[in-house]
């Protein structure tokens, strides 16, 4: 497995007080630990267990994910735009790996 591809769909400019819809996607197999490979050996569990969205240093939305989230986990959520700033998206993988991407949002 190569490096996961991170995708974020968020508007660049929004009005103040607007509820913004954000769609995120990470390409990840989300191995549950139940499936077997071609040799009949169990593939160990490796999933994205946490997703965090931080806006100007404050957590806006957080989710704990378990085995029952599909491969390539898509998360769509909302957030209230108050002031311009950076939106940090963090995906925590089993084993401590963290994938991060940043989007700048301008609030008029």
């Amino acid at each position: 497995m190569g490096k996961p591809i991170l995708r974020v769909k968020a508007p660049e400019e929004v009005k103040q007080g607007e509820i913004v819809e954000i769609m995120t996607l990470i390409s990840h197999p989300m191995h549950t630990g139940l499936r077997k490979d071609l040799n009949g050996e169990l593939i160990p569990r490796k999933i994205i267990n946490e997703f965090i969205c931080i806006y100007n240093g404050e957590i806006v939305f957080r989710t704990n994910m378990h085995e029952a989230i599909s491969a390539n986990p898509l998360i769509q959520f909302n957030f209230l735009a108050k002031e311009s700033g950076d939106l940090d998206f963090l995906w925590h993988e089993d084993g401590g790996e963290v994938y991060k991407t940043v989007r700048r949002i301008k609030v008029n």
């Binding site: 549950t32 806006y55 704990n64 029952a68 909302n78």
Partner: protein
């Protein structure tokens, strides 16, 4: 010689009395249920809140929580799923957490969503795996500690937990 061996056998059998076996089994049962529940309610904060408010505030909030899912899914490995909680999402009245649980999946917990007043709207969309036809349960915890639950039945044709 044979008799002696028989007597010894009986002695060993007697040492493991029926009562001892049952008491051991009951301990095992208690332990396993504890493990099961601790698996479901992993968040300690949520656990204590649930204990406090279980009797007072839990209710079937069908108009408060809405689960959007197809009634039947052919492939259980990617079922579109969204949950919405009716809440103004202000500093004084907002949804703190929404837990999504399954009845028959190998691992009962699906996800936990943590909202803040900054979320604006208590709505999340994702895709989930389901092993077979079952209820999907949503438990929402508001900032004042009140808890609402709702569930929805879904028919699943292909197990989504083992195949891809």
């Amino acid at each position: 010689m044979m008799e002696g061996a028989k007597i010894n056998m009986q002695e060993t059998h007697n040492s493991l009395t029926r009562r001892a076996v049952f008491s051991n089994m009951s301990w095992l049962f208690i332990f396993s249920t504890n493990v099961f529940y601790s698996k479901i309610w992993a968040s300690k904060e949520f656990d204590s809140n649930l204990e406090d408010h279980k009797a007072r505030n839990t209710s079937e909030g069908s108009n408060i929580i809405m689960l959007h899912m197809p009634n039947s899914a052919y492939d259980g490995s990617r079922v579109p799923f969204s949950v919405e909680v009716n809440s103004p999402m202000t500093e004084t009245n907002y949804v703190r957490q929404v837990h999504i649980l399954s009845e028959h999946n190998p691992f009962p917990r699906i996800a936990t969503f943590h909202f803040t007043p900054q979320s604006g709207k208590a709505f999340v969309r994702t895709r989930i795996r389901l092993s077979k036809s079952q209820h999907v349960i949503a438990v929402a915890e508001l900032n004042d500690g009140s808890i609402f639950t709702n569930r929805k039945w879904i028919e699943v044709t292909i197990n989504g937990c083992k195949e891809d």
